[in-house]
Amino acid sequence: MSDSDTIRSAFLSELNKITSLSDLENVKIRYLGRKGEINTFLSKLKNIQPNERKKVGLKVNELKKEIKKRLEERKVSLLLRQEKELKIDVTLPGFKYPRGGLHPVTIAIEEVAKIFEKIGFIHLSYPEVEWEYYAFESLNMPDGHPARDDFETFFIDSKPHPKLGQMLLTPHTSSGQNREMKRLKKPPIRMINIARCYRPNWDVTHVPMFYQFEGLCVDERINLTHLKGTLDYFVKEFFGAKREARVRPFHFQFTEPSFEVDVSCGACFGKGTVSGEKCRVCKSGWLELGGAGMVHPFVLKEGDIDPKKYSGFAFGWGVERVFMMKEDFKLDDLRTMYSGDVRFLEQF
């Protein structure tokens, strides 16, 4: 009986007894390790007759390969058995990581700014505490003009500026128009001014502080089709590709012509009816977005821009309003937005 046969039968009987990966590792070391059965046997080869040596050598090598293969197979079957036993209730929750929240206004501002930045508008914020001149006079609303009523205003208790009037809290972002014209000195102007605004109203549908975004584009040969194009682009990017913008005549002192901008309703797409029933989201197919218009020549002149050479458009809308329209969520009380209630904040 040759030694290699002895080793083989001993190995096979041990292989059968293996029940775990650690058993398997021990058997592997015992036979294939540095000082294992195979190596020990090979070191004895030199004692064998040279004519026998080659034959025995080949046989041991065969055995080595066989042991390796069998161990490998055994390992796979052990792993398979182990996998079958491994079971986790995958419906259990995982580690709890904090989520936090961004204020809805932040989410909306980021999105609005991105949309306009893609078409070359610069996102900035102009002062919130301003002189009367920038909020009114520069926008073609002289002192005592009834249009000022539409922008009820908080004033600051301080000495008025001899030329620029009272200090106030900006009731709209339009006060940034003159500032941007003067910053750049000459067109092209592509501005998206997003800032806090203030008006003295505080009830279910009004908050004394809110956000607006103001677009201003001034250049040679800017016309009505560019305003319409920009509005439609915004509406499609922000509300969805199926939505449309439309403009209706309106009146503002600082634009001529002036518009009210509507977006087609996301439920009935401008039809006003959904499968024969009156649309429940909108009144007549359209939702009011805000004001827009071609910059009034007076406003350009106040910004030291020649209205004969340049023209432009502007629009100014409420951030909270577009966000709520987009997400189609209605706050029963707008004041919730700025209540700091954690149950509101952690939802965004």
Binding site: R99, P146, P208, L224, G340
Partner: protein, 664 residues
């Protein structure tokens, strides 16, 4: 302003085949916005928003005029059946001298641009005919009696308010139109006694009594009653600014005032008076009994506005041919004046648009809206480089970055009002003088512009107690530092507030600085009055103050009834921007072993310990706090050499040097 008119009433002026629903749509697209349309019995009520520049539209006839310009553009029939300004003339009335005359005196012709009056006698005051009272009701006006109803009916039909006096109650039949003196009193029709602010337009009779607060409401002392026999029909236009001021200061915001304060067309006074007489004759058996009084010192002189076709096309952006331009403007009452100029087109402005149209852009608006904004293509403006504002770009990018980081750490962003109360300021031992104050605030809570976000956070924590166990907020917002004779400095602050623990707050700050690659910041003793003296610090980087953090004093915590301690940080946003690095300086990865040794010791001031450890051992690469128990701190020290492998023994020697330092 909003007006209500009815469909059937409109059809008295307009010959059309358009349905009320289509009319709503077409008017809204090209003219006034019809906010709602409601069917009531056999009629429809339109609620229409009329912008302040277009008071000429605020009547049944005014809407008919607009509709006849707009509807044909949609292929609908629209013709005026009657045109009061040209159809209803004084000569139609055949007025001869009458016995019931008036003694009229106008002290200042600027107050009243046109003054007309006519006495009618033999009036029977009673119930209105059904048609009149029903229409008024649909338009939101209460029916009173036939005479007063006619006055209101005229306003809605033609957009010109009128007043009717009892002739016999006017002493000496004298009317003196003048400015009021401060403190004069009048009791108006509704029984309200008003003390006048002065310089209001009023009428005094022969006894010196005020009988009319012009443009706002008539006086009770000369009101029409069931016993009235003789009346004065009174139709005027006034200085709009005066009316507005009186309406605002007396709080009498009547419908008449909302018309007069926008400036009315003097030319429409005539058809209104004529129509009024017709109605009074028909429904109240009235007979004209005085001459016509018409004081109109400066009659309307037609003005002209010119525009060139190239300007039309430049502003609108599509080519509209000349004939079309002329046709559109004609339909709105602007008549093309043939001139020799080849490039300029001149148009006369109709009297009812005199205040609204004064430059070429105004005409462009008329052309474009009737042409139809919906017929214009959508084109994006050409790309152009507008010079950017680097500081703002950086600030906005940084805000976004920080907001997301803090959100992902589990904090909620809060947006608080920029205004705070006096108590908020005093409560933090700050000075009111260093805050901008609102002069017309609507609430004690919104009185001063904040110079710190802290008071808002105290409110946030307080109001959220009990809603959630651990509260962690942040806000990035401006604060406002007043300056002498100039706008305030507006700077952004990053505020963080928690009710968890000091180390939670500190950990947030550390990961924030690490995320911004602000590596060499130092912690120094803080001195903020509203934080506990020994639980606060300030952070400094490259000489810039990064801000403070610490625990709110127990006194303030107690005062606001805060159940748990509050930990606050307020960072100078601009310092974060200035010290921010996009990428931290790169360190080559060392191939040599790092030996980690732990040390547990009493460490009073970790920052000092850290500094001295680095000073003592040149092989020390990093220190980490592993555990804190009482005043014992376990730190893990990482030793390595950039040139070779250190031995365990060498590392131990380094550790001994550091230990010595603690004892020393």
């Amino acid at each position: 302003m909003n007006i209500k008119i009815t469909y059937n009433w409109l059809l008295e002026y307009l010959d059309t085949d358009v349905s009320p629903y289509d009319l709503q749509k077409y008017l809204s697209l090209c003219g006034p916005s019809v906010e709602s349309l409601e069917k009531v019995e056999d009629d429809y009520i339109f609620d229409i928003e009329v912008t302040s520049n277009r008071v000429d539209m605020a009547s049944v006839f005014g809407i008919a005029q607009e509709a006849q310009a707009i509807l044909p553009r949609f292929g609908r029939k629209a013709k005026l059946k009657q045109n009061p300004p040209s159809d209803l003339r004084f000569e139609n009335l055949n007025i001869k001298d009458g016995a019931r005359q008036l003694k009229i005196q106008i002290r200042n012709s600027k107050l009243c641009l046109r003054f007309t009056a006519l006495t009618l006698s033999n009036v029977t005051v009673g119930k209105s005919p059904d048609l009149v009272s029903k229409r008024l009701k649909l338009c939101g006006v209460k029916s009173i009696n036939n005479v007063i109803d006619i006055s209101n009916y005229l306003m809605i039909a033609l957009g010109q308010p009128t007043h009717i006096f009892d002739y016999d109650k006017i002493k000496d039949h004298a009317m003196i139109l003048r400015e009021s003196k401060k403190g004069e009193e009048i009791t108006t029709l509704d029984g309200t006694k008003i003390t006048l602010p002065g310089a209001d337009i009023v009428i005094e009779d022969g006894s010196g009594r005020l009988i009319d607060l012009c443009g706002i409401m008539g006086g009770l002392n000369s009101a029409v009653t069931n016993k009235t026999k003789n009346i004065v029909l009174f139709v005027q236009t006034y200085d709009k600014q005066k009316i507005r001021k009186t309406a605002m200061t007396t709080g009498q915001r009547t419908l008449a005032a909302t018309y007069f304060e926008k400036g009315l067309d003097e030319e429409r006074v005539e058809p209104t008076l004529v129509y009024g007489v017709e109605l009074l004759k028909k429904h109240a058996n009235a007979v004209i009994s005085s001459p016509l009084y018409d004081i109109y010192p400066v009659p309307y002189k037609e003005k002209t506005v010119s525009i060139s076709m190239s300007e039309v096309n430049r502003i609108i952006g599509v080519k509209i041919v000349k004939n079309e331009v002329v046709k559109i403007l004609n339909s709105l009452g602007f008549l093309h004046k043939e001139r020799r100029s080849k490039t300029q087109l001149a148009f006369t402005v109709p009297s009812w648009r005199k205040d609204d149209i004064s430059m070429k852009e105004d005409l462009v608006e008329e052309i474009a809206r009737i042409y139809g904004y919906h017929n214009l293509p959508n084109v994006l403006p050409p790309m152009a480089y507008a010079r950017r504002w680097k500081e703002q770009d950086e600030s906005i990018a940084m805000q976004q970055k920080i907001k997301y980081l803090l959100k992902h750490l589990g904090l909620c962003e809060v947006v608080n009002y920029s205004m705070i109360s006096k108590d908020d300021i005093v409560g933090l031992s700050l000075s009111e003088k260093n805050h901008l104050k609102l002069s017309n605030s609507i609430s004690e809570d919104l009185l001063y512009m904040r110079t710190t976000l802290v008071p808002s956070f105290i409110k946030n924590i307080k109001e959220n107690q009990g809603k959630k166990e651990s509260l962690r907020f942040f806000e990035i917002a401006k604060v406002y530092y007043p300056k002498v004779d100039s706008l305030p400095t507006e700077v952004y602050k990053l505020g963080i507030a928690t009710n968890t623990s000091f180390s939670d707050l500190k950990g947030i700050l550390e990961v924030l600085l690490s995320e911004l690659n602000i590596k060499n910041s130092e912690i120094r003793q803080g001195n903020v009055p509203f934080l506990l003296p020994h639980v606060q610090a300030k952070a400094v980087s490259n000489g810039d103050n990064l801000g403070f953090f610490g625990q709110l004093t127990s006194k303030i915590q107690e005062k606001h009834g805060l159940k748990k301690p509050v930990f606050l940080a307020e960072l100078e946003f601009q310092s974060l921007v200035d010290n921010y690095k996009v990428v931290a300086p790169y360190e080559t990865i060392s191939p040599y072993a790092v030996i980690k040794l732990d040390l547990t010791a009493k460490i009073e001031n970790y920052e000092e310990f850290r500094k001295s450890a680095f000073a003592k051992s040149k092989f020390l690469k990093q220190i980490e706090v592993v555990d804190v128990f009482g005043n014992k701190v376990t730190v893990r020290l990482y030793f390595t050499s950039p040139k070779r492998n250190l031995t365990e023994k060498e590392a131990q020697e380094e550790l001994s040097k550091i230990k010595e330092r603690i004892k020393g």
